[in-house]
């Protein structure tokens, strides 16, 4: 009998505590870029373990999805591999009546990967060479531009087969943003976007599609995310930066590209491709969280602000284990101040 009472009161207590916890339960939905999804998943998961009443559900469906959904108000915040354009920001303001804030979270980079039978050396690529190859102007591996940059390597007289991403992606945006900066012809003929009208080449789906085609097709070149190349131990080339230094992509050289930026704009919308400075890898980019400056629900507002502060402190220490480059200290300091803009 006493045991029964005991069970009853325990059950009652459990119900009561559950009720108390669910009263402060904060459910946040977010969505966007796929590239930072592994680190975001880890952050949101760890943060939930730290504060069990806060759950952030992230749908990794692409940068375009992130921009659209945050503008439509169907997610609490978005995520994108490229900053929103002025037109998109205006649309957001018209629809939601407040501003949208960009918060850089981690850094990513693209690397050129190639397969030339008989060549095992790490090749050096000048911006001119990459633009020429992807414009279809440099068609052979022994082109003078490539030979000049790679003394001592015997490059064959074979046709270059170009492989690019077939689906819209932030990876493509970083790549063509770099090509647009280094080549006037690229900028006017092709331009920037998550999908572009490629002058040459075939499309592979995803990093794995590009990597698979490059691996199988002799004399081919493509581009993949640095993380993908590191995790799959792929061979990739070095790229010359704006200071004339040939740099190999690594987490450190990507962070160096961000640190070498002279002035960070107030809204953090900045491209760091074609970076200059010592050891700066030139095909790097931030990826951003897109957060509305006005959040009506006070519990959500507090949760999002607290999460940002945590992400910039503890969260940054987790990035390297997942092969993402950390934000430079100066950027973190500036972002911590920007958190107060959320009202």
């Amino acid at each position: 009998m006493s045991r029964r009472i005991c069970i009853h009161s325990a059950a009652l207590a459990a119900v009561l505590t559950m009720g108390a916890a669910s009263a402060q339960q904060v459910l946040i939905t977010a969505g966007g870029a796929t590239f930072p999804n592994p680190i975001y998943s880890k952050w949101f998961n760890d943060y939930h373990n730290k504060l069990p009443n806060i759950a952030i559900n992230y749908q990794s469906q692409g940068s375009g999805f992130g921009v659209q959904q945050v503008t439509a108000g169907t997610v609490d915040f978005g995520a994108s591999d490229m900053p929103m354009t002025d037109a998109q920001i205006k649309e957001f303001q018209d629809k939601r009546g407040s501003a949208i804030l960009h918060f850089p979270t981690v850094l990513g980079a693209d690397v050129p990967t190639y397969n030339i039978p008989g060549v095992t050396a790490k090749l050096n690529f000048t911006p001119e060479a990459l633009a020429g190859i992807f414009l279809g102007k440099i068609t052979k591996w022994n082109d003078p531009e490539l030979v000049k940059a790679n003394p001592g390597v015997s490059l064959p007289a074979n046709d270059i087969a170009v492989v690019h991403r077939s689906e819209g992606s932030g990876t493509t945006f970083i790549w063509v943003d770099f090509l647009s900066k280094v080549s006037k012809e690229w900028e006017t003929k092709v331009g920037r976007g998550t999908s572009v009208n490629w002058p040459v080449g075939r499309g592979g789906k995803g990093n794995e599609g590009v990597a698979g085609q490059v691996k199988q097709q002799p004399n081919s070149i493509g581009y993949v995310e640095l993380i993908y190349a590191l995790q799959n131990k792929m061979n990739y080339g070095k790229v010359k930066n704006a200071s004339g230094e040939v740099v190999e992509a690594s987490l450190a050289s990507v962070t160096a590209a961000a640190a070498g930026m002279k002035e960070m704009p107030e809204d953090f919308r900045v491209s760091i491709t074609n970076a200059s400075g010592k050891g700066a890898y030139p095909i790097s980019s931030f990826t951003w969280l897109l957060i509305p400056s006005k959040i009506a629900d006070p519990a959500k507002k507090k949760a999002i602000k607290d999460f940002l502060a945590w992400m910039l402190a503890d969260g940054q220490k987790m990035t390297e284990a997942l092969a993402y480059a950390q934000l430079p200290k100066a950027v973190i300091a500036k972002e911590v101040k920007a958190i107060d803009k959320i009202q």
Binding site: Q61, G62, S63, G64, F65, V67, Q68, A87, Q88, D159, A161, S166, E167, G168, S169, V190, G191, R192, G193, T194, S195, V196, N197, W198, G201, R202, G203, G204, K205, G209, G212, Q213, Q216, Q217, S220
Partner: protein, 324 residues
């Protein structure tokens, strides 16, 4: 019970409402209403689909008009959109798949239904039905990692035999319209075999016995009596296969090369409508770009209708000829 019906009949002359209730009690009317609703819902879904595609593609329809179907530039950055390369890729890969798939599938079905011992036939049929259930992404991955390297090594042989046609000219990079056609063939053949076999098995034995009694050989019986009898069902299986190949997305995008240009050679890369929608929709920002992708959906819908219509007319023509 009978008292109720008799008073009911006396109270009013037997009218429609009464007949309805009687039929309702017997279940006829219930069955009629339920199945009618099912049939109408199909119509409603199709109508809704077309309506949504039509309204959401307004922006590109107004901007480009019919030229959307006849231009071949696809430049999301400049905001220029033309559907022709995608229509071309969709039609060519599906046609290639049917060209290889129909003889292969129908041949296998004839063997399994008419010629093979029952044990072998059942075992093989089980395997074929398994193949039909493999997800398309698996076919795509097998395509890029197994089939494409195989095709690459088979390329010199193909070129030696067929290289004189413009269809097999130019460099071969593995991913191509040809590879997509072959992967699609592998995907649709199980459908053709499985359905055609059932249809052939359903041909009444009297037909065979009659032909054999007249002195026909086994093959003559199969070819001149059984197959014409089962023709409609076999055609049905081919339509299903065609529908699958026109709409196939994942497997095609992985091996087709995803290049929105029109090349005469099957060795060149191409693109299909379903593949470009899947590839670009998530990242499509801006009204015009999204509208163009939605209009491509509308084009695919129209294309499927046109191809199916033409195929049905063809079938009608051949069956009439067969009957006469």
């Amino acid at each position: 019970m009978s008292a109720f019906t008799t008073t009911d009949f006396r109270a009013r002359p037997p009218g429609r409402a009464l007949a309805f209730w009687t039929r309702l009690r017997r279940g006829d009317e219930v069955a009629y209403t339920v199945t009618l609703t099912c049939a109408l819902s199909i119509l409603a879904i199709t109508a809704l689909l077309v309506f949504e595609l039509y309204t959401n593609s307004a922006e590109t329809r107004h901007k480009f008009g019919w030229s959307f179907l006849s231009t071949s530039v696809w430049d999301p950055v400049a905001g220029e959109f033309g559907a022709l390369p995608f229509i071309y890729g969709t039609v060519v890969t599906s046609a290639l798949a049917l060209l290889i798939g129909i003889p292969l599938g129908v041949g296998a079905a004839i063997f399994l239904a008419e010629l093979a011992p029952a044990k072998i036939s059942n075992a093989l049929t089980f395997l074929i039905e398994l193949l039909a259930a493999v997800p398309s992404v698996i076919y795509g991955l097998l395509g890029i990692f197994v089939l494409v390297p195989m095709l690459r090594s088979a390329e010199p042989a193909i070129r030696a035999v067929l290289g004189w046609t413009p269809l097999f000219s130019g460099p071969f990079y593995g991913v191509s319209l040809f590879s997509a056609g072959v992967v699609l063939t592998i995907m649709i053949v199980p459908f053709i075999i499985s359905i055609s076999r059932e249809v052939i098995l359903a041909v009444p034995n009297e037909q065979r016995e009659g032909a054999l009694a007249l002195g026909a050989t086994r093959w003559e019986t199969t070819w001149n009596v059984v197959i014409p009898f089962a023709r409609k069902g076999i055609m049905g299986s081919i339509f299903l296969a065609l529908a699958r190949s026109l709409g196939e997305t994942m497997a095609v995008t992985m091996v087709v090369g995803n290049d929105p240009k029109i090349h005469a050679s099957l060795f060149a890369p191409g693109y299909s409508i379903a593949a470009v929608i899947a590839n670009e929709f998530t990242e499509a920002t801006g009204g015009l770009y999204q509208s163009a992708l939605i209009e491509l959906g509308l084009v695919l819908f129209g294309l499927t209708m046109v191809i199916n219509g033409v195929a049905r007319l063809l079938v009608l023509g051949t069956t009439r000829k067969g009957a006469a």
